[in-house]
């Protein structure tokens, strides 16, 4: 759908090496791109490196080597060289990109327990230096079915409600890209489907690109514009290598 536009996240020739005790894990990402408005699914079993890829896209983990890593915040401005930012460890610039462009949905929501639901939802916008009109918060909450929870603390919500609130928090401040890490892992299949539907619909209405990481192929395949998966093989006793590739049939 957005073939003509430049990708807002563009990764080429990325290698990430992680070592733990004796074992070494190598992730190779030859090509990864997210275009505006796209829903990108990253599918794989646990340990394949999908969360590592998401953390690098989320700018909280530095790639070991990368050929090209650019983020384009808007079409009028040129791309931002993330590889260069990591090279000089420009933490301020990276966190500025995070707060301006991204929204996050963590596996268990990642809501701050000491803020109310409403405060959680408004926090990203406030970090950006703005605020979200109460009407928008309430409208979005109504769409996700958590309108009655706005003034409660996260601890008082069910897990499904928490995930919906987390999706709200990730979207409410109008980011360009929402990164979702197994957003439905903690709920049953039926509920997961509903939550995923809601997120998909909302992202499309808000024209926000989504990268969703999941191990559940069925959940995303019919919704994703692009999907990536991982081929893992044991290089040696210690070294495991994983290659990220587009799933056949999905456009990129």
């Amino acid at each position: 759908m957005a073939e003509a536009t430049a990708p807002m996240v563009s990764l080429e020739g990325l290698v990430k090496t992680r070592s733990q005790n004796e074992s070494v894990f190598e992730l190779h990402v030859p090509h990864f791109a997210v275009r505006p408005g796209q829903m990108v699914a990253v599918i794989g079993e646990s340990g394949c490196g999908k969360s590592t890829l998401l953390d690098m896209v989320a700018l909280v983990m530095a790639p070991t080597r990368v050929g090209r890593f650019e983020i384009t915040s808007s079409q009028s401005e040129g791309p931002c060289d993330v590889a260069a930012l990591w090279a000089r460890d420009d933490e301020d610039a990276l966190s500025a990109l995070r707060r301006d462009l991204f929204g996050y949905v963590l596996q268990t929501g990642g809501l701050l327990p000491f803020l109310s639901v409403r405060q959680n939802i408004c926090l990203p916008a406030r970090i950006k230096g703005g605020d979200i009109p109460a009407s928008r918060v309430e409208a979005l909450a109504a769409r996700l079915g958590v309108a009655g929870c706005l003034d409660r603390m996260p601890v008082a919500l069910s897990i499904g409600q928490r995930q919906r609130v987390a999706i709200l928090r990730a979207l409410a401040h109008q980011p360009r890209l929402v990164l979702a890490d197994e957003p439905t892992a903690a709920v049953d299949k039926a509920r997961a489907r509903a939550i995923m539907d809601d997120m998909h619909r909302l992202a499309r209405d808000e024209a926000v690109a989504v990268v969703v990481v999941t191990h559940d192929v069925d959940l995303v395949m019919d919704r994703a514009d692009v999907a990536y998966t991982f081929d893992t093989h044991q290089v040696s006793e210690q070294v495991t290598s994983s290659l990220c590739r587009p799933v056949n049939g999905s456009g990129s």
């Binding site: 989320a58 966190s95 995070r98 707060r99 268990t108 990642g110 000491f114 803020l115 230096g129």
Partner: protein, 609 residues
């Protein structure tokens, strides 16, 4: 996004976090308050106790006072001398305790009280350091007790009534006084009234029967007595050895010496006629007065004789010239023996003659013929007065009543004033019966104490108490700092551990904050804000606890304390200093936690459950 100021959100988030974990926060605040309160109480106790003791023993002028232990006479010269000693802060003479009781009456109700009248003067520390001012003439300062008994306050007028009994009659003099100030209770619990020395001296004089003309108080005038260095005895016949030696027994004279005519002439200023036996009666180092001369006269009853008292060392100046005067008071009989004319003022009687300033001017000196001769005499206080020429004399020097020379001699030892209006000599005050002495600082007290004792003056001073307090002060200060050090360590340790633990506990939340767009340097201030907030809350609770405890302590010891004193008191300037130090320590204590917070890697923590 240039509008983004994530740092501004940190304190709010930190506060919400503290509120969310309110039980832990409360415990931490209580723990801090439990350190801060006792420290404040200790600081308050140290300051209050030592201050109270210092106030009492060091800064209260009473403890800088050196009091005479016995009543004795102190001459004005003594005061002049002592006031030049180093370390003297204030010195004023005082009068006899009995003479100092003054009746003070309220002008409106007529209610009267008897107060002790104490002299004061400019710079009196007892008054100035107890909320008073130094009264001017016509003013007085009351002690708190005096003010209470009389029911008058500063600015009101009172009436001082001095009473005396003279010749069987009771007389009273009154003078209105303005109450210039009322002293703090600290200045003493006795009812006292402080007034300028001149007033006190006038009151004393009035009580002794004398007048105080400047105040319109009538009474006697103290007449100076004549004193002499010796007497020349002239007789037609020499004395028998027994009579001769009898003259120095019980007469106050110490020695009798044969002298020649020339010797007599030297002493008297004129040569007696030849053929008379001449003796010099003297009493080295002492003064000869009328009673001594009377005693000699008694012993020589029946002898034909002339007893001529003389004065050796009185310096009289007539303009620029030093004037030698002949003191001679002889009646007709004595004049006959001396082959001189009788003096117009009569013979020596022991009392001052009316014409004490009469003079017989030498015929040889024609230059002075006017009615008055102005002369000056040196003495304790210089005297300046006129002589009245009443005739001529054949002698070489002007002749005056010997009593005049006697008075002038007395004036070299005691203050004598010449009252030009009344035209007479008056005895000025001799000495004082005591003094009020304040050392410049407490450190001067021991030195002055020993110097006065060295003069043979028994004095009382709080030398030991002062030294004790200084030792106690140093000891308590050291003790306070030791305990304060312990408290600071404890409080800081509590903060360090709690904040660090909070960061460890909230790693995931801090990681989420990073993920949401806070940089490392932003989350750095999360624990710092919390440390400062907890310290602020701890300070508030600590001060609350201090206030309660200090109130209890002061209440419990109220009976031990004078009004206006407190055992536990924190001076205002300590409070901001204490708060700043606490907040600075809290910020320091949260540095470890802050550093820990910056080390959090969001990628590691956001998936933690």
């Amino acid at each position: 996004m240039t509008r983004a100021r994530p740092l501004r959100l940190i304190p709010g988030l930190a506060a919400l976090h503290l509120r969310h974990e309110w039980i832990l926060t409360l415990c931490l605040v209580i723990a801090l308050a439990a350190v801060i309160s006792p420290l404040l109480v200790l600081l308050g106790l140290k300051h209050g106790t030592i201050h109270t003791l210092r106030e009492r023993l060091v800064e209260d002028p009473v403890f800088r006072e050196i009091r005479p232990a016995q009543t004795r006479e102190f001459k004005p010269e003594w005061f002049e001398d002592v006031s030049t000693w180093p370390g003297i802060g204030f010195l004023t003479p005082t009068i006899l305790p009995l003479s100092s009781v003054l009746s003070v009456v309220r002008t409106d109700t007529g209610k009267g009280e008897l107060f002790d009248l104490i002299p004061t003067a400019a710079g009196d520390p007892l008054l100035l350091e107890n909320g008073g001012t130094v009264p001017e003439d016509g003013e007085a300062v009351l002690t708190a007790e005096a003010s209470r008994r009389l029911g008058v306050a500063a600015g009101e007028e009172i009436l001082a009534r001095v009473t005396r009994s003279r010749g069987g009659r009771t007389e009273a003099a009154e003078l209105p006084l303005l109450v210039a100030a009322v002293l703090d209770p600290r200045a003493g619990s006795l009812p006292r009234i402080y007034a300028p020395l001149s007033f006190v001296v006038d009151v004393e004089a009035y009580k002794e029967g004398y007048a105080a003309p400047a105040r319109g108080w009538t009474g006697d005038t103290p007449e100076p007595y004549a004193s002499f260095d010796g007497a020349v005895l002239l007789l037609p016949e020499p004395l028998s050895p027994i009579t001769r030696s009898g003259l120095v027994i019980n007469t106050g004279f110490g020695r009798i010496a044969d002298i020649t005519e020339d010797g007599a002439g030297e002493l008297l200023g004129f040569s007696p006629p030849p053929g008379l036996a001449a003796y010099n009666l003297l009493s080295p180092g002492a003064s000869i007065t009328a009673s001594n001369l009377r005693a000699i006269d008694q012993k020589l009853r029946g002898h034909t004789r002339v007893l001529l008292p003389y004065v050796s060392d009185v310096e009289i100046r007539f303009g620029e010239e030093e004037l030698r005067l002949i003191g001679l008071s002889v009646d007709e009989e004595q004049a006959g023996i001396l082959s001189l004319p009788q003096t117009p003022w009569g013979g020596y009687t022991g009392r001052l003659p009316l014409g004490i300033r009469d003079v017989l001017w030498p015929s040889a000196r024609e230059e002075v013929l006017q009615q008055k001769v102005s002369v000056r005499s040196a003495g304790v206080a210089a005297l300046e007065f006129d002589l009245h020429p009443v005739g001529r004399t054949a002698l070489a020097h002007p002749v005056v009543p010997v009593e005049l020379l006697g008075v002038l001699r007395t004036a070299t030892q005691r203050a004598v004033a010449f009252e030009s209006e009344a035209g007479r000599f008056e005895m000025a005050r001799g000495g004082y019966r005591g003094f009020r002495l304040y050392a410049h600082s407490i450190d001067d007290v021991p030195g002055l104490y020993h110097r006065l004792k060295g003069q043979g003056i028994e004095v009382i001073a709080e030398v030991e108490a002062i030294e004790r307090i200084q030792v106690l002060d140093r000891g308590l200060t050291r003790l306070f700092w030791l305990i304060a050090l312990l408290g600071v360590f404890g409080g800081t340790a509590v903060l360090v551990s709690s904040l660090y633990a909070a960061v460890e506990r909230r790693r995931r939340d801090l990681g989420v904050l990073r993920l949401l767009g806070f940089a490392r340097r932003h989350v750095f201030f999360f624990p710092i804000s919390q440390g400062l907030m907890i310290a602020a809350l701890g300070l508030a609770a600590g001060f609350g606890g201090y206030a309660a405890l200090a109130g209890t302590i002061n209440h419990a010891f109220a009976s031990e304390l004078a009004p206006g004193e407190a055992f536990c008191v924190l001076p205002g300037q300590y409070v901001p200093v204490f708060c700043l130090i606490t907040l600075a320590l809290a910020a320091l204590a949260s540095l470890a936690a802050a550093w820990r917070a910056t080390c959090i890697d969001p990628a590691e923590v956001i998936r933690e459950q």
